[in-house]
């Protein structure tokens, strides 16, 4: 599992490769946190290469969402597969996040 971070225009795009779970959630928190400190304000997390997410992973997304909003930024999620959609629906987190079907739509939505 790994996180790849790149810039696309003024958007920070984070690819989550593999699981987002208790064992690596702090890595994501830290990496995105570092970028926010450097001044990034638009963040897109792409789940097209993600396996499963546990409650710790969901917790990190919630905390990043709040932190980005507090700094006047915006967070978008893209490319959730059916299993991940189920997970967001079960936890009602689909109502908290702005979720796009594709990366392109997510980029346009900022």
């Amino acid at each position: 599992m790994s996180f790849a971070i790149k810039k696309q225009g003024d958007v920070l795009v984070v690819d989550v490769d593999g699981q987002l779970i208790v064992g690596n959630r702090n890595e994501l928190k830290q990496k995105v946190g570092d970028e926010l400190e450097k001044g990034e304000r638009k963040v897109l997390i792409d789940f097209s290469r993600t396996g499963y997410i546990d409650s710790s992973g969901l917790g990190v997304l919630v905390s990043l969402s709040r932190r980005i909003r507090d700094q006047g930024g915006e967070l978008r999620l893209a490319n959730l597969n059916d299993d991940l959609k189920t997970l967001f629906e079960l936890t009602k987190l689909d109502t908290l996040f702005q979720i796009s079907d594709t990366k392109e739509r997510a980029l346009q939505s900022f």
Partner: protein, 155 residues
């Protein structure tokens, strides 16, 4: 048995009667979670459990139970270990996660993270996901704190 027209083999009694039990023990360290989850999910796949169960229900619920066992009891120091037992048939998975902690009040700890006031909380979704993704969740004490989850195979 006529060699040129053998009688058809009867329906597969091997798969129908097979029961697989897995037992393992890991040090209380979250880095082992993925290996345990992968192992049990793979065995369920081999039993023909549907993809959604082997890719979502089983990995997520098992990760929750393991991380609770590891994170709650790790604080105790003293190199605690977590035991995992899985019992698999054609029809269901029963998996038990045993930690060395004193246990907890399952009903009392089960909150509802989907309530508006809880939605932005970072914690508190583990037991909820376990109950949502499994058919049955039990906790009892027997040589440790045992969390038992049962998932019926639904095709």
């Amino acid at each position: 048995m006529a060699p040129d027209a053998p009688a058809p083999a009867p329906a597969d009694p091997v798969a129908a009667s097979l029961r697989v039990a897995l037992e393992l023990e890991i040090p209380s360290d979250v880095r082992h979670i993925e290996a345990v989850v992968g192992l049990i999910a793979r065995h369920c796949e081999q039993f023909g459990f549907p993809r959604k169960q082997t890719a979502l229900n089983i990995p997520v619920a098992l990760t929750e139970a393991l991380s609770n066992a590891i994170l709650r009891v790790n604080a105790a120091g003293d190199a605690p270990r977590v035991q995992v037992r899985a019992d698999l048939t054609d029809e269901r998975l029963v998996v038990e996660i045993v930690d060395e902690g004193a246990g907890f009040d399952l009903a009392g700890c089960l909150g509802d993270p989907t309530q508006p006031e809880n939605l932005e909380r970072e914690e508190g979704r583990g037991l909820f996901l376990m109950t949502s993704l499994m058919d049955r969740l039990e906790r009892f004490s027997s040589h440790g704190n045992v969390v038992r989850m049962t998932l019926l195979r639904h095709d």
